[in-house]
């Protein structure tokens, strides 16, 4: 486990760098008070707001306060959701909507969408890739190639709109967006899953072609195993490492893709929160959302590493230290 501990340490440092960058960059682009109250607000109003938001303290003090809060799981208070602009002593609970609450409220929806998108894409991509590798140069192979190329090159935003027009507007099968029942997730998951679907299918296909030419496949055939088991267990498990690598990459892309897809479908996830925070110049929420996304990415990378060791018994966590 020392490897994992060290990795966690690196991740924490990475997060601190991200946080610091967002914090200072956010302050550098302008005075949040002017952004909030507009150009014509009076100096007294601005001064009052800065006081209430704690923006009059020295920047470094604000920064240490923020980082200190982070350590205790406190992401600060939204500038715009709730009533942070009011004097804190007016409220028993300190005033303002905690960013942590906002982020935690949105995170499950993003995870849900990403899980459905990736799960669906992965299942379909593996089947597509395997079929293509089992019948190379057949019409199935060509179909898989065309489909995966198309889904990799398509722009998610555009795909989302096309899906809405086709399935919600013309066919009326599914809602145009929103969140609620399980059918709400289908279209956004399709839009979000298209890219990983294509990428994973392509990688699966080529990795499977490699694996199917290996001696252990001939040996497995020779002992009389059914072909489906040879493909789905023997070859696929060995093709797993490139597939997991690309899936990890795609997961990171998925998080960025979620920002667009959530916006198109009005999906109440972290991406949507991030866009709103950006539009509202709500620095604490923006920081919190970016932090959440960065944490997701780091956790995903760690999971990918752990999956490697499962797929390739020769690599153990301790041996990867070198």
């Amino acid at each position: 486990m020392p490897y994992l501990v060290r990795r966690a340490g690196h991740s924490a440092i990475m997060l601190l760098v991200v946080v610091s960058f967002v914090f200072f960059a956010g302050r550098m682009i302008g005075d949040p008070a002017i952004v909030m109250l507009g150009a014509s607000a009076s100096d007294t109003a601005l001064e009052q707001l800065r006081n209430n938001l704690g923006l009059n303290d020295p920047l470094l003090m604000q920064y240490f306060r923020y980082v200190g809060g982070l350590v205790q799981g406190d992401l600060g208070v939204s500038f715009r959701y709730g009533f942070a602009q009011m004097p804190a002593e007016r409220f028993m609970d300190g005033g303002g909507t905690p960013v942590m609450g906002l982020v935690l409220a949105r995170l499950p929806q993003t995870l849900y969408l990403a899980a459905v998108a990736l799960g669906g894409a992965l299942a379909l991509a593996l089947v597509m890739g395997c079929l293509a590798a089992m019948y190379p140069r057949s019409w199935i192979d060509h179909l898989v190639n065309v489909l995966s190329l198309a889904s990799v090159s398509v722009v998610q935003f555009w795909l989302g709109l096309v899906l809405i027009v086709l399935f919600a507007v013309h066919l009326g099968w599914l809602p145009t967006g929103g969140y609620g029942s399980w059918y709400h997730v289908i279209l956004p998951a399709l839009a979000l899953g298209a890219r990983p679907l294509g990428r994973v299918a392509q990688v699966t296909r080529s990795a499977m072609l490699d694996e199917m030419a290996r001696p252990y496949v001939a040996a497995a055939r020779a002992k009389g195993l059914p072909e489906h088991r040879i493909v789905s267990v023997h070859a696929l498990k060995n093709a797993g490492i490139p597939v997991v690598t690309i899936t990890g990459d795609e997961l990171v892309q998925l998080v960025t893709g979620a920002i667009l897809v959530e916006t198109v479908f009005g999906w109440p996830g972290i991406g949507h929160l991030l866009v709103e925070a950006l539009n509202n110049r709500d620095l604490p929420v923006l920081q919190g959302a970016i932090l959440a996304v960065a944490t997701l990415v780091i956790v995903v990378n760690l999971l990918v590493d752990i999956t490697y060791t499962y797929l390739n018994p020769k690599v153990s966590l301790s041996s990867r230290e070198n």
């Binding site: 150009a39 014509s40 007294t44 919600a168 145009t176 029942s181 709103e276």
Partner: protein, 527 residues
């Protein structure tokens, strides 16, 4: 194999069941472009803060769309006592959605809470020169005071949302997320990130009153506001029959609505306008004070062309407002689009020794303005075409906003900037417009409303000061004259008037609220 078929059948059945439940009976669905940051009472001063909140929270008075007069809402009657106080007589028997009475004490609490400078609510952008306080005269009578003379106290009262006193005092946090107003709909639920909804208030005072606002008594069981940032997503909602009304469609959506069945685009003038504020008498490049150079820039622009770029917009009539406004001057016309004349003016100025060397007019916009990139580029090109060099710049609010403030003019002096910006007339009266856009900025002015002006003219300031104290026809005429005065001096370029548009499902009629508010009371069945 059997189980697989069963599973498939169940899945299909589920899909079908899902589809049928999509259209929830008797829920009126409005697709709005943004999630509100909160649902606090102060937010009703501007529709964009929380579209639809006016159906839950009502003000004391509101402006009538046609007459431009204030009409009763929670106050049945009111009188101006003097230029610092306004007495309002409240409607009897009105209760908030929590059952507590809407009386003078509750109203005074709301007014002071909303306008409290320490609370620093964004409504402060429409604050008057003085601090607002409210005094209970009797159970149903409230007197509103301003610490400085404020002829627009009634306007400020039309912006003030009145909510439960009990909530403000005992559960202030809930005030921001679970509004308790008096409106025809009572707040039900806010599904963060998705929508908020309200249910019909069967005890609404408007059901029994004979002076109720709006076109009818709204009768939908429930109204839900769905947040969709993407205009195409909002468009899809009405195309799929999921929404009854879509707020702020794009002009292309309105064009498509013409060709599509099931809904139409309803447009009308809004209170928003786009202006080009060209640096003038404050820390400006002196060449911009030359009347010929200013006129050359004003006449260089094709206003029809700019309206086309914007889509839902029209050419203004030489002033920053609409004909319904007090002070609108019918005799004025938009600056002629005449590049030939502009070129001649530039040449004349040069012949008179005005040296344009080093002058570069910065056409600058803020990136949250619609179509700002195209707009800034087109304006820049038109000005260049008559021989005045420009550069174009689109900035974020964080960078742009400080540059609109007087302290920054000084820092950048001498400056030659044309700020292309959207502004809104909060009331159908030129008073605030003239004051905030043209009055010479006063660093000691606590309200700060004139701080974005670039114009300093003693005569104008005197006449404006007088006009602002007037009422009725006198006020109207005084402001008409001021508009003509400004028009001749080429102070600010009225670039375009923005239209307001809604996509409305067939079978419904929408009457525009007086001040851009979406009110269910203004939705009627058309057949």
């Amino acid at each position: 194999m059997k189980t697989r078929q069963t599973a498939l059948a169940i899945t299909l059945a589920g899909v079908l069941a899902g589809v049928t439940s999509l259209a929830l009976a008797d829920t009126f669905v409005v697709a709005v472009p943004q999630e509100p940051q909160d649902l606090a009472a102060q937010g009703i001063y501007k529709e964009i803060n929380a579209p639809g909140l006016r159906n839950v929270i009502e003000p004391l008075i509101m402006m009538d769309a046609d007459s431009g007069d204030y009409v009763p809402v929670l106050a049945q009657d009111w009188e101006v006592i003097d230029d610092t106080s306004l007495r309002l007589h409240l409607r009897e028997g009105v209760v908030f959605h929590d059952g507590t009475p809407m009386d003078a004490e509750a109203v005074a609490t709301s007014i002071e809470f909303v306008w409290d400078q320490e609370n620093a609510f964004t409504i402060q952008e429409y604050a008057g020169p003085g601090r607002i306080s409210a005094e209970v005269e009797d159970d149903l009578t409230v007197v509103v005071h301003s610490s400085e003379p404020d002829p627009m106290l009634d306007f400020r009262m039309s912006l003030t949302g009145i909510t439960s006193q009990d909530q403000i005092e005992n559960n202030p946090s809930a005030h921001f997320t679970q509004p308790l107003g008096t409106g025809p709909y009572a707040f039900e639920d806010w599904d963060q990130g998705s929508s908020w909804s309200a249910v019909r208030n069967d005890d609404w005072w408007g059901r029994a009153a004979d002076d109720v606002y709006g076109q009818n008594i709204p009768d939908y069981d429930r109204v839900r506001f769905e947040f969709r940032t993407e205009s195409s997503s909002r468009m899809a909602m009405i195309m799929a029959g999921e929404a009854d009304i879509v707020v702020s469609p794009q002009s292309s959506d309105c064009e498509r609505a013409e060709r599509l069945d099931g809904f139409s685009c309803v447009t009308g003038p809004s209170s928003q306008y786009i202006y080009g504020r060209l640096d003038y008498s404050l820390f400006a490049d002196e060449r911009l004070e030359d009347p010929r150079i200013r006129a050359a820039i004003f006449h260089a622009l094709s206003y029809e062309g700019l309206a086309d770029i914007l889509g839902l917009a029209s050419v203004p009539q030489g002033q920053l407002g609409t004909p319904d406004m007090t002070g609108f001057n019918d005799a004025l016309e938009q600056y002629a689009s005449d590049p030939q004349r502009s070129m001649e003016l530039v040449q004349q100025a040069q012949a008179d020794g005005v040296n344009l060397n080093g002058l570069r007019v910065e056409v600058m916009g803020r990136d949250d303005t619609p179509r700002i990139g195209e707009l800034v580029e087109a304006i820049g090109a038109m000005i260049e075409a008559v021989g005045i060099p420009t550069r174009q710049n689109v900035q974020t609010p964080a960078v742009a906003n400080p540059r609109f403030r007087i302290s920054e003019y000084k820092a950048e002096a001498p400056r030659a900037m044309m700020q292309v910006h959207v502004k809104e007339n909060p009331a159908p009266d030129f008073g605030l417009n003239l004051h905030s856009n043209y009055a010479c900025p006063d660093l000691d002015d606590p309200s700060g409303v004139s701080r974005s002006s670039v114009f300093c003219d003693e005569e104008f300031d005197e006449r404006l000061h007088e006009a602002l104290t007037l009422i009725g026809e006198e006020r109207h005429e005084a402001m008409q004259e001021l508009n003509a005065f400004l028009h001749e001096r080429y102070v600010i370029i009225p670039l375009a008037l923005l239209d307001r548009a809604y996509l409305v499902r067939d079978g419904l009629d929408l009457t525009f609220g007086p001040d851009g508010r979406f009110l269910l009371a203004n939705v009627t069945q058309s057949d």
